[in-house]
């Protein structure tokens, strides 16, 4: 499910999966990887630094860092704070 809700996307069903696409020639930023939040669990030291700076409470530290796409605005603050380059926030 898309939580960005840019209003530019529509959904199609492909091989039984709900796929999100851009309208006409506008690509969907999330699906096409232009906008994304990723954590590398091999690098992450479970320090919680990213959680402490997230303005929208989108992160939580359990065994791994848990990311709530619904709340994340892809502001990139967590990526800056992380002491070990474990987070990558991709923006267009």
């Amino acid at each position: 499910m898309c939580y960005t809700r840019c209003g530019e996307a529509y959904f199609t069903v492909y091989k039984g999966l709900l796929i999100q696409q851009g309208i006409q020639n506008i690509p969907c930023l999330r699906v096409d990887g232009f906008m994304a939040w990723n954590v590398n669990n091999d690098k992450c030291l479970r320090c919680g630094g990213c959680v402490s700076v997230c303005p929208t409470a989108a992160l939580e530290l359990r065994d791994n860092v848990i990311h709530d796409e619904k709340l994340c605005t892809l502001c990139g603050v967590c990526e800056k704070a992380c002491p070990v380059e474990a987070i990558k926030v991709t923006k267009p």
Binding site: G48, A58, P83
Partner: protein, 405 residues
């Protein structure tokens, strides 16, 4: 399928059997200090911590002044890795001065220390449970915070309390969900630390290296832990170049340290400012590092966490006795904390903001011009006018110095 377990019966004698007076989230120094005081007052208190082992992994340089025992209590020897006399402060050019503390200090073993604090809380009558993740807060029909949702060994549970204390440190979104508190990016230091062995440093001093090149805005620390062990760490203003890269550069310059081996790697973001203005809601109190109650100049948070937890406990006890746990009643904690600690830490934050504007050359001159006693006073946020006077000798620094006055 997950079973939803009924809450454990409380050991308290007041009212409803399954109702705790207080649930504390987090068994760090703030949480256990708060729980201990409340239990001593006769309230039923339960402390939950998500860590499988309380205190581990550590996220701390483990330095604490001996004077802190006045409120932490007499720290048993098993919690102390190394006794220290004071701090050796290195200017960027390598010159140093020794600031000797009148009563000395400790490098602790946090894994043992935090457990001891938890034991003290249990002795006073509180219940502590590790490995229990608190996932959410629960409100009652009045809209007051009135309990928590948690998980222990795969079993989810919900448990009620008259007051919920959030002592989770900065690492939990609960403080943000309840009060909108989080750390601003420019108010944290991004840190990495290696616990090393086979390191050669003067063992009874903590070593602090100031340098805008080695650790922009922050500093490098080497805290000896006895028998050639030491916590070697650094904190910097968050940026694209990560603390690990700075650490490599520091180690290259210090063969007496880099010859050692790394036993443990810790990371963390320590708040160095931005203390929360409002720490209470109806039935809810935030204390400790979660409220950014940390000394902004050196990032020391153990003492502030304990003080903050204890002050919170005093106010909560008073409110529970009066049976008024509204935000208005609990907001006495805001008043007390800001009066006793906040205004003081605010001055320290100003000092930090001043120092971060100085170049390495300025820092060299400063270390030259200052007396060791002054340094100790500065770290406490006192005698800042002395520092301002030293800075004012350079016309370029006059405006920076004014910020202090």
């Amino acid at each position: 399928m997950r079973r939803v377990r009924k809450s454990l019966p409380s050991r308290g004698d007041k009212g409803d059997e399954t109702m705790n007076d207080v649930i504390v989230i987090g068994a760090g120094p703030a949480g256990t200090a708060c729980a201990k005081k409340l239990a001593e007052e006769g309230f039923s208190v339960k402390v939950y911590d998500k860590r499988a082992e309380i205190g581990a992994p550590k996220r701390c340089g483990e330095g604490l002044s001996e004077a802190s025992q006045a409120f932490v209590g007499k720290i048993p020897d098993r919690c102390i890795a190394q006794k220290i006399k004071g701090a050796r402060l290195y200017a960027p050019d390598g010159r140093y001065l020794d600031a000797i503390l009148s009563s000395g200090g400790f490098v602790l073993e946090r894994k043992v220390f935090d457990k001891w604090l938890a034991e003290e809380a249990v002795k006073a009558g509180a219940a502590v449970q590790a490995n229990t993740f608190i996932s959410d807060l629960v409100k009652d029909e009045r809209g007051y915070f009135a309990g928590v949702k948690g998980e222990f060994l795969g079993n989810e549970f919900e448990e009620k309390a008259r007051v919920v204390v959030c002592a989770t440190g900065a690492e939990s979104p609960l403080r943000n969900k309840a009060l909108g508190v989080f750390s601003k990016l420019n108010s944290i230091d991004s840190c990495i630390q290696y616990e090393m062995t086979n390191v050669d440093v003067v063992p009874d001093l903590i070593h602090i290296y100031l340098s805008g090149v080695l650790a922009p805005r922050g500093y490098v620390w080497v805290f000896p832990k006895g028998e050639h062990r030491a916590n070697v760490g650094l904190g910097i203003i968050p940026q694209d170049k990560k603390p690990g890269a700075y650490m490599d550069e520091f180690l290259k310059l210090h063969p007496e340290i880099s010859k050692g081996s790394i036993l443990e790697v810790n990371a963390g973001c320590v708040p160095v400012g931005g203390m929360a203005k409002d720490m209470v809601a109806n039935g809810f109190v935030l204390c400790g590092e979660g409220a950014n109650h940390v000394n902004p100049i050196h990032g020391g948070g153990i003492k502030e966490a304990v003080l903050s937890g204890q002050m919170a406990a005093d106010v909560i006890a008073e409110c529970l006795k009066k049976n008024d746990i509204s935000k208005t009643a609990l907001s006495k904690f805001n008043d007390v904390w800001w009066k006793e600690r906040g205004n003081h830490l605010k001055r320290v934050e100003k000092l930090r903001e001043t120092l971060e504007k100085l170049s390495d050359a300025d820092l060299n001159d400063l270390v030259d011009a200052l007396k060791p006693e002054d340094i100790i006073e500065f770290a406490r946020g006192a005698k800042l006018s002395v520092l301002a006077k030293v800075l004012m000798r350079k016309p370029r620094l006059v405006s920076i110095a004014r910020h202090l006055l």
